[in-house]
């Protein structure tokens, strides 16, 4: 095994992991970064996206991209409903939003079990293998990472260049001020929660072909998503990307050299060390330097 091949191996894994971490964390970053809501049901929004994609694939025989979109819309609508019914009363109440979303998570998991049973038929992973310079990786994981980066770009464009984006960032900095300038912050929160849930649903849809469709599939993503968002710090775009890149690089190095358990432990230890050195997350560190 030449050194080059091992490095290529490692890079291919980092690239695949990067996509997973960005997809898992982006929706959460929007909601947590923007509105200070800790959404412990984030994993279940991914699950809803995955289920909607699998169902539309099997029942409506929709093509994969359409099915993934349906997954996004399903989570978005669910997010919107929950925001209007529950989350709306919990803004500025960080801890209470955590308890409420934990309750929502319990409900969604059990509801999925009751409606769809312990396991819903899975979906085939499209495209098959990809050989680059002697390293074989799954074509779909490359597609997933590319889509993840594209989504990052979309979110950046929405926040930087749309009217909604401007108002959203204003509300994020200082909602009282924004309100006094005539921004309907209530609508902004509604829109942002929908947007965050939609992105999370898309992520669920993208994950559907690679996971088994079970009610508890969301729990696998929640820890990584939270660690990525917290380590990333306040800036939704740059923070999520940089922390996802560094965490997946370190985790895959650990997994490659010492096995998956070490990879997992290393991810958590890295998060602890980064938080300890940069108490406000990576973006504040970058902003201070820029």
């Amino acid at each position: 095994m030449t050194i080059g091949a091992t490095v290529l191996d490692w890079l291919s894994i980092v690239f695949a992991n990067l996509g997973v971490l960005i997809l898992a964390a982006l929706g959460l970053a929007i909601i947590f970064g923007m509105m200070g809501i800790i959404n412990l049901a984030h994993g279940e929004f991914i699950m809803v996206g995955a289920y909607a994609t699998a169902i539309s694939y099997h029942e409506l025989s929709a093509p994969l991209p359409a099915a993934i979109l349906i997954g996004g819309v399903a989570s978005g609508v669910l997010g919107l409903a929950l925001e209007r019914l529950i989350i709306r009363h919990l803004y500025e109440r960080l801890i209470d939003s955590m308890v409420a979303t934990w309750g929502i998570s319990l409900i969604l998991i059990q509801a999925a079990l009751l409606v769809f049973g312990a396991r819903y038929p899975g979906m085939p992973t499209p495209f098959g293998p990809l050989q680059i310079a002697g390293v074989s990786t799954s074509m779909y994981s490359v597609v997933m990472t590319m889509t993840a980066l594209a989504l990052l770009g979309v979110v950046y464009l929405v926040f930087q260049y749309t009217d909604y984006g401007l108002k959203a960032r204003a509300t994020m900095q200082n909602d009282d001020m924004a309100r006094s300038l005539g921004v309907d912050t209530d609508h902004i929160y509604m829109g942002t929660f929908f947007f965050g849930s939609f992105i999370t649903g898309i992520a669920g849809g993208l994950f559907a072909p690679t996971v088994s469709i079970v009610p508890t599939l969301g729990t696998g993503f929640i820890i990584e998503a939270f660690v990525t968002v917290i380590v990333g710090g306040t800036n939704v775009i740059v923070g999520t990307f940089v922390s996802a890149l560094s965490l997946s690089a370190i985790r895959s190095l650990g997994a490659q050299l010492f096995g998956t358990l070490v990879g997992r432990v290393v991810l958590l230890v890295t998060a602890i060390v980064i938080i300890r050195l940069l108490p406000q997350g990576i973006t504040t560190y970058l902003e201070e330097r820029s």
């Binding site: 902003e287 201070e288 330097r289 820029s290």
Partner: protein, 249 residues
């Protein structure tokens, strides 16, 4: 370019606070730019300057809330540049924060108990004394949240006095106060100064400055712009310009 004129050339040990080219950067922004400041003991002085001049940042460097990028701070002759905030408080530096920092969900008496219990033998006696000083008689058991804005400011001023400091830093003590309350605050501060504590007050209201202090330092764009008696500073045309935004540093 500073026009500091040292009228009274004090010998070193009489200086309670001194900073040497104190600087603080936030990314590209230089909030405090190599400030050399001296405060003689038992003096009541003011620090003025337009918004964003670096007054609060300067105070946070003195209290230890922020670490300077360069320069050093001396208190009673000893260097305290890297000392933790609590250690500076124990040496006798006390700060009244820019936005009111009291304990809203606790009563007045409980608020006062926190600084007093660490510094006084007769805790309840001292608390009652301070309640009178803050003109909050009879409100001892009220929840602080229910007090008026002015009353809360006085409570915090008195609380910061409760640790018997050598140096008291007051950051905009009259913010949000009526004319009458501002004047009473002036009397309170002067009565505190009379008890032999050096005081620096950050303020905007020039009438208030005239009422309480005889020596003023002006900060502008993070630099020590001018220093002198109230009269000199008021007459100094360049000071007026920076307030009107005409003159660049």
């Amino acid at each position: 370019m500073t026009s500091a004129i040292h009228i009274d050339d004090e010998s070193d040990e009489n200086i309670v606070l001194r900073t040497e080219s104190l600087t603080k950067d936030f990314g590209g922004l230089r909030a405090v730019d190599s400030v050399d400041y001296e405060l003689p003991a038992d003096e009541l002085r003011c620090l003025i300057g337009p918004n964003g001049a670096g007054k609060s940042t300067f105070f946070k460097l003195l209290s230890g809330q922020l670490q300077p990028t360069e320069g050093s701070i001396y208190f009673q002759g000893e260097e305290i540049t890297n000392l933790e905030p609590y250690a500076r408080a124990r040496r006798g530096i006390s700060l009244k924060f820019q936005n009111i920092s009291v304990y809203p969900s606790l009563t007045v008496r409980e608020n006062l108990r926190i600084p007093v219990q660490r510094h006084a033998a007769d805790v309840d006696g001292r608390i009652t004394e301070l309640i009178e000083l803050a003109q909050l008689n009879g409100l001892g058991d009220d929840i602080v949240d229910n007090l008026s804005h002015g009353q809360q400011q006085w409570l915090e001023i008195v609380m910061s006095m409760a640790i018997d400091p050598e140096l008291l830093l007051l950051d905009e003590p009259t913010a949000g106060m009526s004319i009458e309350e501002t004047r009473e605050t002036g009397d309170l501060i002067q009565s505190l100064a009379a008890q032999g504590v050096s005081i620096v007050v950050v303020e905007h209201d020039i009438n208030f400055v005239r009422q309480i202090a005889d020596w003023v330092t002006v900060l502008h764009n993070g630099r020590l712009f001018a220093e002198g008696t109230v009269a000199e500073i008021e007459a100094d045309e360049r000071v007026q310009n920076i307030y009107l935004g005409k003159e660049e540093a």
